[in-house]
């Protein structure tokens, strides 16, 4: 895989708690226009294939990709939809190019979480024979995972709160972010409790928005931009569905996915080699758990890792300099926006949140109950 798929450009909407003035297709139109302009290509002539990511449940529509070809010049073109996280769509788009079937692919994802009650949708993702009727949603499940993580490894709510303080602080430097704030650990701990130990600040806020990017072959990417970003490695993996079948304090699937991606990218010592990480923390504790899964620290050391300050914007290995999902990114767009942020870091286009001299980045998307499935992409410039 190394250096054969180039990301030419990426674009996002500003993320907001609600965008009632925009139809879902208009969200896609906005990012498509932006990314096509940034890449300097013709949507009609140059784009051979369109890969999108959205969810029928969130859109309230069977074939949620139905309006996509309309706003992406998809008339009589190759078009497909991945119904996982946005990072999966980037990986699938890359496969189109690696296979030699297509030279230039547009990848888009959209979601307007404000249109519906997400807790009901989350409940519908849970096994319907044995567990769904308990009324579990992702926040309740996350509370169990966080509690297990605390019990097994002695991680504290203060350490979770540090993630919120860092990410909402970083978001102040990100013009696309929805929520940003200067907070203290006490502010987070004193905020409204949702499901112990998850407070309202520990959870990603409801958000609307979209993200897009242009993927191309090595040859075309080099022609289109002097700052191509290469997909160097990728991996994705599932954990079991039944929570009782999993050790919730560890993330086996993420470990498998990241090992595969690192092997492909030739990374031996992730914490030394990687310059910046953008990961999908739907809840604050997940950032600590996912840093373990990504091999940045050992199992159970996520708490110490945030305490060390290494993941701060000016640390050795900044995690979520964009503000992460806690700053407000909708589901499905989540993973793709992580890739987009990593692309901008590697292109040196991240403005105030730029990590100087970033050469190698990791972007992570996940989905399902307690992060049941993970997708890891290693990007380099």
């Amino acid at each position: 895989m190394p250096d054969r798929v180039g990301i030419v450009a990426a674009a996002m909407t500003k993320f907001e708690a609600a965008k009632p003035w925009q139809h879902l297709a208009e969200l896609v139109l906005e990012v498509t226009d932006k990314v096509v302009e940034a890449a300097g290509i013709s949507l009609q002539k140059d784009v051979e294939s369109i890969v999108s990511c959205s969810q029928d449940h969130w859109d309230g529509r069977t074939i949620s990709s139905m309006p996509i070809p309309d706003v992406t010049c998809g008339h009589l073109k190759d078009e497909s939809k991945v119904a996982d996280d946005g990072a999966y769509a980037v990986l699938y788009g890359a496969m189109h190019i690696l296979s030699g079937d297509h030279k230039l692919v547009l990848v888009v994802s959209h979601c307007a979480e404000s249109h519906t009650d997400g807790t009901i949708i989350e409940n519908w993702s849970i096994d319907h024979i044995f567990t769904r009727m308990l009324g579990l949603d992702y926040t309740l499940a996350a509370a169990m995972q966080a509690r297990r993580y605390m019990d097994k490894y002695g991680i504290t709510p203060e350490q979770f709160a540090k993630v919120v303080v860092k990410n909402k602080g970083n978001a102040k430097k990100n013009p696309y972010a929805q929520d940003s704030a200067t907070l203290s650990v006490i502010d987070v701990l004193k905020s409204q409790m949702l499901a112990d130990p998850i407070t309202v600040m520990d959870r990603k806020p409801v958000s609307d928005g979209a993200c897009a990017m242009i993927l191309a072959t090595e040859e075309i990417a080099k022609k289109l931009t002097d700052k191509p970003v290469w997909i160097k490695g990728a991996g994705n993996c599932y954990d079991p569905h039944f929570l009782g079948d999993r050790e919730l304090a560890d993330c086996d699937a993420l470990e498998t996915a990241s090992k595969k991606a690192y092997k492909m990218a030739g990374i031996k010592n992730p914490v030394k080699e990687i310059d910046v990480v953008e990961l999908s923390e739907y809840y604050s504790y997940q950032e600590l758990l996912w840093t373990e899964g990504l091999g940045l620290c050992k199992r159970g050391e996520g708490g110490k890792f945030i305490d060390s300050g290494k993941t701060q914007l000016n640390g050795d290995i900044p995690v979520n300099p964009s503000g992460g999902l806690l700053s407000g990114i909708p589901i499905t767009v989540a993973g793709m926006s992580r890739v987009a942020e990593a692309v901008w870091q590697l292109q040196g286009r991240s403005g105030e949140r730029q990590i100087p001299g970033a050469k190698l980045a990791v972007a992570h998307g996940c989905g399902g109950i307690c992060g049941q499935m993970h997708c890891v992409l290693v990007l380099g410039n």
């Binding site: 139809h23 029928d56 074939i63 139905m66 497909s80 890359a94 690696l98 949708i121 994705n236 049941q372």
Partner: protein, 389 residues
């Protein structure tokens, strides 16, 4: 299409209208076990698991994750595809991309639907644009009736063709133990059935079935070790269009330029096929109602415009004919949407392997087409062969 990707294992459940004694996972597991046994491998040999169905039909969100315990995807990579009627074929294409890109060596594909668990027509109605067209659209039938009526008028085709097609399809399905509607009907039975939406009578409409189809796909070096009868994906193409646009293209007058014509031209040209009805011997078609046989034969560029129904009248497309369409009984007799497309590829592969049993066609098959249809008249088209040399 320089990559050599083969289908090495096929498994399908029996299809029916109800299956109260099995949940979704158990149904899928049945198809997966059969496919793995057919390929003579275990789940440990699989790198990637791809699932496809339409979420709102059963109501399960992220069901690739929900079904991980049954599909065998734990500890493996995977994708969930979701593209409407074409989802079954799209997941085979996703498997092809996984292998052709070098990301996986062996992929398990699962297409499934359990239509008794939700109100399918209500869910299909949400396909239509919410502000303008959803209010006067009902399910899939309105589009199918429009396309059928358009063909009848355009080609000057008599209504009886619908009866003839459904009649030989009922004969085909009666020979297929896995088909859902297996009763035999005469032309008169079909024509005298209650008119539901002109020109479609009750017997011309595809059922809502439940079932699953699983396939194992592998790269060449692995495929040759797994089976003596690999079926190769020689070519495939996806042609979709904008909301409503694919349908309007098919219904508008003037020279025909539809997703089917574009897909047909691409496949025939890329594979240097000049006499399709001779060089290709079979078509497992996504045929939701009888008039799609002549309509698709023409739009896929297999015969001249206005001629297909005459060839069908002469028996070209029956199981004993020289170009059988859907000898399995097709979507008209078995329609679990997420598996309908997967099943088309699987049934075409069974014919190429000469493993179709009682519904094996009489003529020798070396190349076969399989198609997917859905969305706003979207098309996926495959060319399969049992020998690449």
């Amino acid at each position: 299409m320089s990559h050599r990707v083969a289908i090495t294992g096929i498994g399908q459940t029996r299809h029916s209208g109800r299956r109260p004694y099995h949940n979704d996972g158990e149904m899928i597991h049945e198809a997966v076990s059969l496919a793995l046994a057919d390929a003579d491998i275990s789940i440990k040999d699989i790198d990637t698991v791809i699932i496809g169905n339409m979420d709102l039909f059963e109501g399960h969100y992220l069901n690739d994750a929900m079904l991980a315990d049954y599909s065998g995807s734990i500890g493996k990579s995977g994708f969930k595809m979701n593209t409407g009627g074409t989802v079954g074929t799209m997941e085979v294409i996703t498997a092809w991309y996984n292998i052709a890109s070098g990301q996986s060596d062996t992929v398990l594909v699962i297409g499934w639907e359990k239509h008794d668990e939700g109100p399918v027509t209500s869910a299909i109605t949400t396909i239509y644009e919410p502000a303008y067209t959803r209010w006067f659209s009902v399910g899939a039938l309105s589009g199918l009736a429009l396309l059928s009526d358009d063909y009848l008028r355009r080609a000057n085709c008599p209504m009886e063709i619908g009866g003839i097609v459904r009649s030989y399809m009922s004969e085909n399905a009666s020979r297929n133990p896995n088909a859902h509607l297996r009763e035999k009907y005469t032309v008169q039975d079909v024509m005298n059935a209650r008119m539901v939406l002109y020109p479609l009578t009750l017997l011309m409409i595809c059922p809502t079935s439940l079932g699953a189809c699983a396939m194992v796909l592998a790269k060449e070096s692995k495929a040759k070790k797994m089976t003596k009868k690999p079926v190769w994906i020689k070519d495939h193409v996806t042609v979709h269009a904008e909301e409503g646009g694919g349908l309007f293209d098919a219904l508008s007058g003037g020279p025909r330029r539809t997703t089917e014509t574009e897909a047909g031209k691409t496949i025939l040209k890329r594979n240097h096929i000049t006499k399709p009805l001779e060089e290709i011997q079979l078509f497992e078609m996504y045929d939701p109602c009888p008039f799609f046989h002549p309509f698709f034969l023409e739009d896929f560029q297999l015969c001249p415009e206005g001629e297909a129904w005459k060839l069908i009248e002469k028996g070209l497309t029956s199981r004993e004919g020289s170009f059988p369409i859907s000898p399995s009984g097709g979507v008209m007799c078995t329609n679990a949407i997420g598996d309908s497309g997967t099943l088309r590829v699987a049934e075409a592969a069974l014919q190429l392997r000469e493993d179709a049993g009682e519904h094996q066609v009489t003529r020798k098959v070396t190349q076969a087409l399989a198609s997917g249809f859905g969305g706003s008249n979207w098309t996926d088209l495959f060319l399969l062969t049992n020998s690449l040399d």
